[in-house]
């Protein structure tokens, strides 16, 4: 989780421009991904830009009870909600029942047919940051069923609790868990294949 420790929060709350630019650099693309998953790519830029304006004005109220990423994600969600007012949310559950991404890795009796290989990267920071993998990752996210991507972004990138996610996306807790599991499994399969072959 991109936490609070890599930024000088005190400087940020004093209105330090360098600290604010650092926060934008660290979180902006993740917030765009959250907004894109909810309102679509066309409106995501507007939602996130408005969110930064509101966040900047409200930084003095940030108490550090969540990570800055989670606090910012909530602001983005509110902004997306305002953009969606009067419009149908893009999230639907029609695609929730596609096959499991790792289904072909098991034998008929439920044991590993093709077990995961040992990954080269030992640290979380390095795992998804390789340039070639990043392009594959962005392609995967672009083609991932939108509700899976939304839950992944809100939970694993934004750090929201399941209760908030269910409320925002109007899905049940069990559905949210299935969607998250499918999204993580697709990511796992992608990284495992990349670690094995150098391609994806």
């Amino acid at each position: 989780m991109a936490g609070n420790d890599s930024l000088d929060l005190a400087a940020l709350q004093r209105g330090d421009e360098v600290a604010f630019a650092g926060a934008v650099r660290l979180h902006h693309r993740a917030l765009l991904a959250v907004a894109s998953a909810i309102v679509g790519a066309d409106d995501a830029e507007e939602a996130v830009q408005n969110s930064w304006i509101k966040a900047h004005a409200a930084l003095g109220q940030f108490e550090g009870r969540s990570t800055l990423r989670t606090w910012l994600t909530r602001i983005v969600i509110n902004e997306c909600r305002m953009l969606l007012r009067g419009r149908r949310p893009t999230i639907s559950l029609d695609e929730a029942t596609v096959g499991h991404p790792l289904a072909d890795r098991f034998t008929a009796n439920g044991h590993w047919n093709k077990p995961p290989i040992p990954w080269h990267e030992d640290t979380p920071d390095g795992l998804l940051m390789e340039q070639e993998l990043e392009q594959c990752l962005q392609r995967l996210l672009a083609t991932m069923p939108e509700q899976q991507r939304a839950v992944l972004e809100l939970r694993d990138s934004g750090g929201l609790e399941f209760a908030e996610i269910c409320n925002e996306l109007t899905v049940s807790a069990s559905n949210a868990r299935v969607l998250l599991h499918r999204a993580r499994s697709q990511l796992f399969k992608l990284v495992d294949q990349y670690q094995e072959t150098g391609e994806c």
């Binding site: 989780m1 930064w52 439920g110 990267e121 640290t123 979380p124 998804l128 990043e134 993580r184 796992f188």
Partner: protein, 79 residues
């Protein structure tokens, strides 16, 4: 005894500490004897921790666009 496929299905709940004591015991017992599933759970944990950084940092142009928008919003008269 749980099967490997069931370990994969339970892994998210295991890592989120959402399993019941009996489920946790069943999963842990399987993990004791199955190195493939131990690797799966370990690498899934690593993957989950990496997701927050997967989009990478914003470009200089993106940062400047936001900083300028914030400055302009402060300069604009209140409605």
């Amino acid at each position: 005894m749980l099967k490997c496929r069931e370990i994969v299905e339970h892994a998210d709940a295991l890592l989120a500490a959402e399993l019941t004591p009996i489920q946790r015991l069943s999963v842990r017992t399987h993990l004791l004897i199955c190195r493939h599933c131990r690797r799966y759970v370990r690498q899934l944990r690593q993957l989950i921790r990496s997701v927050a950084a997967m989009h990478g940092p914003a470009s200089d142009a993106q940062v400047q666009q936001v900083v300028t928008a914030v400055k302009n919003s402060k300069a604009a008269p209140a409605p």
